[in-house]
Amino acid sequence: MIRMKSVDVVIIGFGWTGAIMGIELSDAGVSVLALERGDYQDTSPDWAYPNIADELAYGIRGKLFQPLARETVTVRHAVGDTAVPYRQYGSFLLGNNVGGAGTHWNGQHYRPSPEDLEFRSHIRNRYGERFMPADMQIQDYGVTYDELEPFLEKFEYVCGTSGRAGNLNGRLQEGGNPFEGQRKKEYPNPPVADGYGAKLFADAARTLGYHPFPQPASNASRPYTNPYGARLGPCNLCGYCERFGCFMYSKASPQTTILPILMRRPNFSLRTNSHVTRINLDSTGRRATGVTYIDAKGQQVEQPADLVIVAAFQMHNVRLMLLSGIGRPYDPATGAGVIGKNYAYQMMSSIGVFFDKDVAINPFIGAGAGGVQIVDDFNSDHFDHASHGFIGGAYIFGGQTGGRPIQQLSVPPGTPSWGAAWKRAAKDSYLHSTTVATHGSVMSYRDRYLDLDPTYKDAFGLPLLRITFDWHENEYKMSRFVTDRAKDIVDQMKPKASSLNLRKPGDHYDIRQYQTTHTTGGVIQGNDPSTSALNRFQQSWDVPNVFVTGASAFPQNLGYNPTGLIGGLTYLSAKAIREIYLKRPGPLVQT
């Protein structure tokens, strides 16, 4: 085994949260090393135009995704079933290389609603304990919205998020989201221009008395310099955003917002092709001594460090904690243990909206996040759930993120999937169709969790992570309710035809259908070490010199995209490390 010189801080994984920790902790003057299993990549030459405008290579074959041949997960629907490998990409996509999924994300940039962070307390106070099904184990984050607000703002200013405030210091603002928590400052950039589909959607929603607003987008609407001094260029609505790197320097990613500054710091270094296999512990099991990784030549390398940041993406974080024996693995039979607990996903529905030839949508004009309109009236606890019998909700999304024809062309309902009739429909509808979708929360349950697979291994011979997941009654009800509201909006848009994709009771989780890469839980944060793996600063209760960033910390899933919250929590954690932990290493919350 090769042994490297010790560093103050080692970061496992160099995606969104690894980059944030890298720049914040190196700013404190300590030595920081990031280990990334993938290669280096940057806007130029890797994502330069025109090669990046290649739907097959990036959108379909997944050039930027984690290669599943080396490492994947296994999936089963219920405890007791045999899990099988997720052999091809479908349901979710995983990031790889420098920047992680932060390079090929869409940039849909949300804050949580205040109640999302104290969800159990909020639901109990508003509806009573009995409103929650017995096997639902939702929890509070241990951090309130007001505590988190400055960090949510900081991440938006780093990303150059384009949007319009709905609630500035308690005053509702015309054209923004009236349901959002108070923000102290307006978004750093104005909204991206609406696509035509979004405009039709917003007009219809307004007619019905809803409150549409432009989706907050980390696709810069104008030239922008962020607080670190990194510069972004204006988005040109090219339609190659999610699944692609951005050739315009418009989409916020570690490459556009952090690396230009961080890579020049003498006390920061990055080692690529370094695949971490475990976090090493001393003989007490209460202190991490560093990490072990496999380098490009296949050699085992030991990297000693005083502080370990686990920033490898939700699923990989959970797996590394299990492989390293940190914290007690969760047991669904007894409900005891914390690592792997409360895995959750999201539930979407979508409606294809087809117009006549006089309505030109030009669906290829799109951004991953900007240019679409949102109705948030039925998300979180923005409406009274008492008579509906479910918890949580979804936002409704109107417009499209691009019109790439292999993946994003849709045909009216009843069209055969091939042959002359399919071709005619593709020809007639392509320019004249758009999408309305719902993007919904999923609660956490006693029998939905992550552990190590007993059978399948990765390329290094280590057990794969096993997902045990299926939908619950609450989520079917949620999706049906919000989708019915979405259908009302679609009817009001007066299309020629519309198609519906809704998950109904009895439909199992289908790993073949892409929904979102917003998987959550497994190393959750909270106030009580018996029910959470991390304290409110994302510090391991069991091994206090280990911090774990990313959506693995979410006790249940939100209706929103996670990265705004992930970024906020990471900045809060970084501040606590800088200002408290580095001066006096040890637990930041006493038990």
Binding site: A53, P67, Q88, D194, P405, A420, K423, I511, R512
Partner: protein
């Protein structure tokens, strides 16, 4: 686009292809059945398959020709080069199963919602399934798939799609789904992968390809974007 040798060669190739393609395009849908052998002959002349054997190549062309037929709406899969696209894909890491997790044990009896669980890579899947479908066609109709009349070919494809034909080697629905997915990929992907010749499918639906710059057009609601497609290698139309 600079005048690099590659783009010159490309234009030269396209120009030569153009001589042949309209000849098929001129034939109405009614005469396509007779035109089938002619169009296959054209594709064979233009491209020699590297992975597929002669009988497999016949199958592939005869199948994609029905999945996206040629007619007055726009080009079909055959003259778009979809068979060529699929053949070329078989030689990539994708075709070799290099993008998929391919370690056993394999449990093909797992619920379909848990995704692909066969031990076949894409190229193995095509090889096993084409032989099986041709075998089935010979038993039922005394002819391989490519020799069937187009209505019969459609019928077989429909049955494969619905899983009504039981093949020993592979579940027919899984093979059909793979074939249809690759056919649409070849039809709509950038022409540099061998399909979508002359960007015919893009022109048909109105997709501008790799143009990727619409800042000035977002706020022109109701008007169809007026500029034709461009490919990654700079071919315009």
């Amino acid at each position: 686009m600079s005048n690099k040798p590659r783009s010159t060669q490309r234009r030269e190739f396209l120009r030569k292809s153009l001589v042949v393609v309209p000849a098929i395009g001129l034939l109405g849908p009614a005469s396509l059945s007779q035109a089938r052998s002619a169009s296959i002959a054209f594709t064979e002349a233009a491209y020699t398959p590297r992975y597929f054997t002669a009988p497999e190549w016949q199958f592939l062309q005869a199948a994609v020709d029905r999945l996206i037929p040629s007619n007055e709406d726009g080009p079909g899969a055959l003259e778009s080069g979809v068979a060529e696209f699929i053949d070329r894909e078989m030689e990539t890491a994708y075709g070799h199963g290099g993008l998929w997790y391919m370690q056993g044990p394999f449990t093909p009896e797992a619920p379909p919602t848990l995704g692909y669980q066969l031990r076949f890579t894409p190229r193995e899947l095509y090889r096993a399934a084409i032989a099986a479908v041709d075998g089935w066609c010979k038993k039922q109709h005394n002819m391989v798939f490519a020799s069937l009349a187009q209505e019969m070919r459609d019928e077989v494809l429909h049955q494969l799609e619905k899983g009504q034909i039981v093949l020993e080697a592979v579940p027919s629905q899984i093979f059909f789904a793979q074939l249809l997915q690759n056919t649409k990929e070849g039809y709509f992907a950038d022409p540099m992968y061998g399909g979508n010749k002359q960007m015919g499918s893009w022109k048909m639906i109105g997709f501008p390809g790799a143009r990727a710059d619409f800042a000035d057009w977002a706020e022109q609601p109701g008007k169809v974007y007026p500029i034709g497609p461009v490919s990654i290698r700079g071919d315009k139309s």
